[in-house]
């Protein structure tokens, strides 16, 4: 059975106490920890798996190895080639997803209760015994190269790539995790095996399971699925300070609408002020039509279809980022208004009414996220990765409610740095020029 078993019954809805979600913390006989929610009403199971590290674990000269490796897990394993593997998967009506991110890799699975053993056995084969056949490697490599070429012609990608490169230089965050044409062309089968051994390890593993399965059944299932992975992964990269100064970088590109990607340093997820910053950002730039930026740039002036800002606390650096797109003739005005809003919020703060509105929205919206097996599995695995405990689900709205106007406005003064905003603009923007380095 399990070594530990803690069940927490969480009431998510203050107004309707009947709604509950039982998060069970399970440790398998083999020592794998997982969060489990049993939801028997629909006969399928959603599993979300993450390994910390991700594409940041690429070795020097091997940029793109982790990304390509993840793309190959569904392309042949055990004694099956790519087509045999996919034929078997389709016969089970299971779906598997393999993703590579900066700081983690993700494996998602959905399968029917009634053929769960077969679905798990097939997924195990992909995770533990990938073959990285040369023909699959070459085929997927060509797709990655096409993707790199395509990103090189998309205004949004051109802008964000330039921004990250200027902000992070040689750190993995400074380069595209797909790799370069040169690095991807040089990757070999042995690079794939090496990336696989580095990226999928027990010490960086997070798991959540939601659906038609009891907590008691989950442990043995996970031991079958993941028990044979290596114990330990390599060292993670160092933390890095955001090092881009305020200013403007214009990249000439012949397209009718200019795209701006902008930001400055941000705040760590475990900072005591994080919730104040989160509420503040909702008021300024992420609160849909009600945010200050959306109101000033879109609703009042019609300069854009959308503008948004985001707190981006990565594992090794933290940023506050935003993006906006406007015609070449009007992007300068859109950026000027954005700077003004930034400066006004930093100097004068937000109002009590704005704070209250943001809190009502954020606390009301939170429980709405928990309405599907896959959604709940995703939320739970994300919580584990940033060291939250299951009772965070209950307490989270209290953290939002606890933010005072003084907190929000102190954080506004500290966090929002209008002079440090750096804009990368791609297009043929009228009236904008790059600032000297």
């Amino acid at each position: 059975m399990f070594r530990s078993f803690i069940a927490l019954t969480l009431s998510l809805f203050a107004t309707t106490a009947s709604a509950e979600i039982d998060i069970n913390e399970v440790t398998s006989p083999g020592g794998i920890n997982a969060w489990v929610v049993e939801e028997p009403s629909i006969p399928f199971i959603a599993v979300e798996i993450r390994f910390r590290g991700g594409t940041s674990l690429d070795l020097p000269g091997k940029r793109g190895a982790t990304n390509l490796m993840m793309g190959l897990l569904e392309e042949g394993s055990g004694d099956m080639n790519a087509q045999e593997f996919q034929t078997a998967r389709e016969a089970l009506a299971a779906s598997y997803g393999f993703s590579a991110y900066d700081d983690s890799i993700g494996v998602s699975a959905q399968f029917l209760t009634e053929n769960q053993d077969e679905a798990i056995a097939l997924l195990r084969q992909a995770l533990i015994e990938p073959t990285f056949d040369q023909d699959a490697l070459d085929r997927v490599r060509a797709q990655v190269l096409a993707n790199i070429a395509s990103e090189g012609k998309r205004p949004n990608s051109i802008a964000s790539t330039a921004f990250y490169s200027a902000a992070f230089g040689d750190h993995p965050y400074g380069t595209n995790s797909d790799g370069t044409v040169e690095s991807v062309n040089a990757l070999t089968q042995s690079d794939m095996h090496e990336a696989h051994q580095r990226a999928l390890t027990h010490d960086r593993l997070y798991v959540s399971v939601v659906g038609d399965i009891t907590p008691a059944e989950v442990g043995p299932m996970l031991d079958t699925l993941l028990g044979d992975l290596p114990e330990q992964g390599p060292e993670l990269p160092d933390n890095i300070a955001f090092s881009l100064d305020g200013g403007m970088t214009v990249i000439d590109y012949d397209t009718p609408q200019a795209v701006a990607f902008f930001g400055h340093a941000g705040m760590k997820r475990n900072d005591p002020d994080f919730f104040a910053a989160y509420v503040l950002n909702n008021v300024q730039g992420s609160g849909g039509f009600e945010s200050r930026l959306m109101n000033e740039v879109r609703e009042k002036r019609g300069l854009t279809y959308g503008i948004g800002t985001y707190l981006v606390p990565k594992f090794h650096a933290e940023m506050m980022l935003g993006s906006v797109a406007s015609s070449n003739a009007t992007i300068a005005e859109a950026i000027a208004v954005t700077r003004d809003v930034w400066a006004d919020t930093a100097t004068n703060g937000i109002t009590q009414a704005e704070l209250d509105r943001a809190k009502t929205y954020l606390t009301g919206e939170y429980p709405l996220r928990f309405d599907g097996n896959s959604d709940i599995a995703n939320i739970m695995v994300g919580m584990q990765m940033i060291d939250l405990s299951p009772d965070y689900v209950i307490n989270r709205n209290d953290y939002i409610e606890a933010v005072t106007l003084e907190d929000a406005n102190r954080v506004a003064r500290e966090l929002l740095q209008p002079d440090n905003l750096h804009f990368v603009v791609v297009g043929k923007p009228e009236g904008l020029e790059s600032t000297p380095n």
Partner: protein
């Protein structure tokens, strides 16, 4: 392989027992109502679908349906501009809207105990919008920037626009939903109000409420808020210019230096799902999967990506959810060093072979299994179920059609697929489009 076969047999047994709980009724003023119960979480999705889309627009006013969707968030007799969304947000919900060729829909996702407030506001803006010339000027710029973002900055979207215009020469499916730029620039308050007065009425709308609700409670609320709105006596019958028979192949090359990967698409006119007649559409779902569903198991994928290295990507797609004639399309992105003409010839060979040869029964069974399972997975997504009903009812299908669809899909035979393939895969009823960065690539 025995284990897999055993698994298939088991899927058959339980999938049939799973279905969403649906109640339907019609208000006295003609408004149709669909209630989908899902009591797993105290959440509700409230949607109003108007049976009016871009393909119903007056000539010369392309984009007005979508533009009007934006204006619906402005002031009414009791709500200030922006107050609708602000109120939804203040109650912890989110709201949005979308426009397509056949419908315009508005929705909120919110705690179930706020349904009353949502209906109050949504019913208010069905008839009491009070837009001004100022609203028009600013919001017109917003939709022009939306067009910039979605289309002008995206060579693939610009190419698609050209191909659609070539595909539909008489039907309004040939005009983009967001509108042609030169017509969008001229949209005015008269266009907007004429559109609103005629089409935004209960007898032209479908209400879909999905989530933690009881049908009786929804009926009472719907009667209170929507039931009191008079029906529109002058609502015109929905007759749109139909596409004449296409008698000659059409070909287009779209050139744009922002294209990084050349590709080609072939799009054939194809039957859509019709009330009481969804069998051909069901067979086309299989055809799309067999020809180009998965790169690993479809005919195009196997021939062009595995047996030969002709293509980087292949695909086939068909969506039968359409009021009028739909399309079936295949696409190929050639591998490095392969010309578009070579890729197209290889694609045509696969299509010819498909029509000449028998269909593997194991592939049919695999698709059947996946379609059965997709009905189980679909139950996890209440909003998706709501959309399924809202779209269908806006496109002339009935609730019975929606509920019959999974069984019709299960009963498709190899012969049905061959018959529909022979009928649809005819180049004289198709547009072939090449997308390239330079003229040199167009060979």
């Amino acid at each position: 392989m025995k284990r897999l076969l055993a698994a298939l047999a088991m899927i058959t047994t339980t999938a049939a027992a799973q279905a969403e709980e649906v109640t339907t009724f019609t208000l006295d003023n003609g408004m149709e109502v669909v209630v989908i119960e899902d009591h797993r979480a105290p959440v509700v999705v409230h949607m109003v679908w108007y049976k009016i889309g871009s393909a119903d627009e007056p000539v010369g006013a392309s984009g007005v349906a979508h533009f009007f969707e934006h204006l619906m968030f402005k002031q009414t007799d009791i709500l200030e501009s922006g107050e609708f969304s602000a109120t939804v947000a203040a109650n912890g919900g989110s709201d949005n809207a979308f426009t397509s060729y056949d419908y315009t829909a508005y929705f909120q996702r919110i705690a179930a105990d706020r349904l009353d407030l949502m209906m109050q506001m949504e019913s208010n803006r069905m008839t009491n919008l009070a837009i001004t010339a100022d609203n028009i000027a600013t919001e017109r710029n917003v939709v022009l920037e939306e067009r910039n973002q979605r289309t002008e900055n995206n060579p693939g979207a610009l190419a698609r626009e050209q191909f659609n215009a070539a595909q539909y020469q008489n039907h309004r499916y040939g005009v983009p939903v967001i509108g042609w730029k030169h017509e969008m620039e001229q949209l005015n308050i008269d266009d907007a109000l004429a559109f609103y007065d005629l089409y935004y009425s209960p007898n032209n709308a479908v209400l879909v409420v999905a989530g933690d609700v009881q049908p009786d409670e929804v009926r009472a609320l719907a009667e209170t808020y929507y039931g009191v709105i008079p029906s529109e006596p002058d609502l015109p019958e929905r007759i749109r210019p139909q596409e004449p028979p296409q008698r000659a192949e059409r070909r287009i090359t779209y050139t744009d230096p922002r294209v990084s990967q050349p590709y080609l698409t072939r799009s054939y006119l194809a039957p859509e799902r019709d009330p009481g007649a969804q069998e051909e559409a069901a067979a086309l779902v299989y055809l799309a999967d067999l020809l180009g569903g998965s790169p690993f198991t479809s005919d195009l994928g196997i021939a062009l990506q595995f047996d030969t290295q002709t293509a980087l990507y292949t695909g086939a797609s068909y969506n039968g959810s359409s009021l009028d004639t739909a399309t079936f399309s295949v696409s190929v992105a050639p591998a490095t060093g392969v010309k578009l003409s070579e890729a197209e010839a290889a694609m045509d060979q696969v299509i010819a072979d498909f029509i000449a040869n028998d269909i593997d029964p194991a592939r049919m069974e695999s698709i059947r299994t996946q379609l059965r399972a997709s009905e189980i997975y679909a139950l996890d997504d209440t909003q998706g179920l709501a959309q399924r009903y809202g779209a269908a009812l806006s496109q002339s299908l009935t609730v019975a059609d929606v509920q019959a669809w999974p069984d019709i899909l299960q009963s498709v035979t190899e012969e049905d697929v061959k018959t529909v393939a022979t009928k649809v895969l005819n180049r004289d009823q198709a547009v072939t489009g090449w997308v390239v960065a330079t003229q040199e690539d167009a060979r």
